[in-house]
Amino acid sequence: MKRRTTPKASRGTRGKPSDNTSTPSTTAPNTPRSSVVIRKLKTGVPGLDEVLGGGLPEYSFNILAGAPGCGKTTLAHQIIFANATPQKPAIFFTVLGEPAIKMLRYQQQFSFFDKAKLDKSIRFINLSDLVLKNDLAAVLAEIIKQVEELSPGIVVVDSFRTVVRKAQSVVAGSAGGGDVELQAFVQTLALHLTSWQATTFLIGEYTDGELRDNPVFTVADGLFWLSQVTERNSIVRKLQVIKCRGQETVPGLHTFRITGDGVQVFPRTFGLTAPSDKKRSTLRQSTGVPELDIMMGGGIAAGESVLLGGPSGSGKSILGTHFVAEGLKKGEPGVIAVFEELPTQYVARAEKMGIKLDAARKNGTLEVIYLRPLDLSVDETVNEIVTAVKRVKAKRVVIDSLVGFELALAPGFRTDFRESLYRMIVALTRLGVTVISTVEVEEDFTSLGLSNYAISFLSDTIIRLRYVSLDGQLRRMLMVVKMRSGKHSIDTREYEITSKGVVMGERLRGYQALTTGIPGPWGWGPASDAGPTEGASRRGQGASRRGRGRDLE
């Protein structure tokens, strides 16, 4: 076997991905306190390296466990195709699991499956005949023989559970304790594979209840648990790194999806574990509606999150479109995430208002992404948005709308939607982008709700749109409720939606209880006891509207 050196010690790399090239490494000489640096293999699985704290520890002995159909074999294949080379090949032992021909038939549908790597870099070896003969010693001997011959960098045994069952049935008939002998078998295999400098995976079908007291899990350095969580009619795939020795892994359940490109993991950290180098800008970004900018002291503070709440048809989407279009005019790329209509419909609707988005889409400065697959997870959604933001170097993001977003989620994620929104907004603003989230608010004409999610505290700025019944007409008004970045107007302004989009009108004067949606003139009804602070007269009483946009005093 070729002699290999171990990774050279380097400081300050903990938790960071290492490159996948074979760097000679060893413990640093003459530094008694220096510790061995464990090289990390990139898995080739988007998002998984982040969860693993940088990658897979080289020479580790890992178990990929889960029920049938979780994606264990696909995950293992993806890892070997990403790492195997003619110099450091991978061996994939199949035992009594999926027949190899069938496995190859299906696995080659994935884009990562590189036929050119077969034989020279990746070798599939079938051990079923040995297992069927109940010859565990021969199984072990064959694995060791092949490993010695090929000197692989990665070894996978699929499905290892079959070997274990055989081991149990064999040892059950012997005088020795079953568990002890099984542990010895696994330990021997692990020791052999580790000392031959191979990163090893055993793939097994296990259920949650088997996690305890299983000797295989004790021996393993890494334990990756894959599951499919069913809730009502939805199924969500989840991955948990239960154990990964020597690694700063991201705890918790991470959702993943299997597509034509294989497994993609969506870390709960959204791939943003590195410290943010973004500084809060003092820049104000125009909303695209000049009068609204004035109300906001010059516009939205760059890098903040804005909640745009209002009932259906109040113009939330249009305001969001104005904001992005204005950014595009100023050379600031944007991303619009839509859940309730297709991007083409969204763009066509904007065009009707004279807001041209098509050119920006074509030149790559705007992405309108439609996120409505079945059983979406929050992490997946954010991943899509974050990826688009990075791709177009966006400065402005519109999420239209949070209600559509919630409906697209698998039921299990709706229960902690508020927490999820918090994580999403933090992740996006960490990137330095300004985020406008639209939210539909149920109008009840007795109070002014800001959103149905009690998420107002997540937003730096809140703009509220609402219908108001005035003079026998259902009109629209807008107010800036909150701005963390500075002073803002406290006016309630009327606005209209025209063929040019949102057109601001005048401040609504002379009415009380405007925010309830059913105002009356000052001095009218019970509210008059409190007394007006402005427009304190009965001038508005009975005032008929003589023209839109005019002062209503």
Partner: protein, 149 residues
């Protein structure tokens, strides 16, 4: 009978011719080399396929290929697939012994086996497997009967 794709038939013909030529070039008397070309071709594929598909996997493929080929060539019905995946009962026309299987039978059997491989693992992998068994052979494009349809 399921038709065999022309490409598989062509490759089968070439593999058989190659094995026949190898035997002639080695100067071996056909009667001294009792393994006929069809069995040799299947054996070479067996060596490659057993590694990843296991003996059982290869046996099932060869048995299916034999069943399919025997529909058009009943003389193949006398052949058996042994537990180790090798063929028995195949006769060698060149050796002068009784001739149960004609060259067309051999061709049909090997072509069916290749066609099955293309159906299950695709053209690319079948090429690779054939190349492992015959490293100096250039196999042309292969399409299984299902793909031809």
């Amino acid at each position: 009978m399921q038709s065999i794709s022309p490409a598989s038939r062509d490759l089968a013909r070439r593999l058989l011719a190659r094995e026949l030529a190898r035997r002639k070039n080695s100067g071996t008397n056909p009667s001294a080399d009792p393994v006929p070309p069809a069995a040799r071709v299947c054996d070479k594929l067996r060596a490659v396929l057993v590694t990843f598909a296991g003996i059982a996997g290869f046996r099932s493929l060869l048995t299916r290929a034999l069943t399919l080929a025997a529909v058009g060539h009943p003389e193949l019905k006398g052949l058996r697939v042994n537990p180790d995946g090798s063929l028995s009962g195949i006769e060698d026309g060149e050796s002068g012994e009784k001739t149960a299987a004609t060259p067309e039978c051999d061709e049909a059997l090997v072509a069916q086996l290749l066609d099955l491989l293309v159906t299950f693992v695709g053209e690319g992998l079948t090429h690779q497997l054939v190349s492992q068994a015959w490293p100096d052979l250039h196999a042309g494009p292969l399409r299984s009967r299902t793909q031809v349809k």
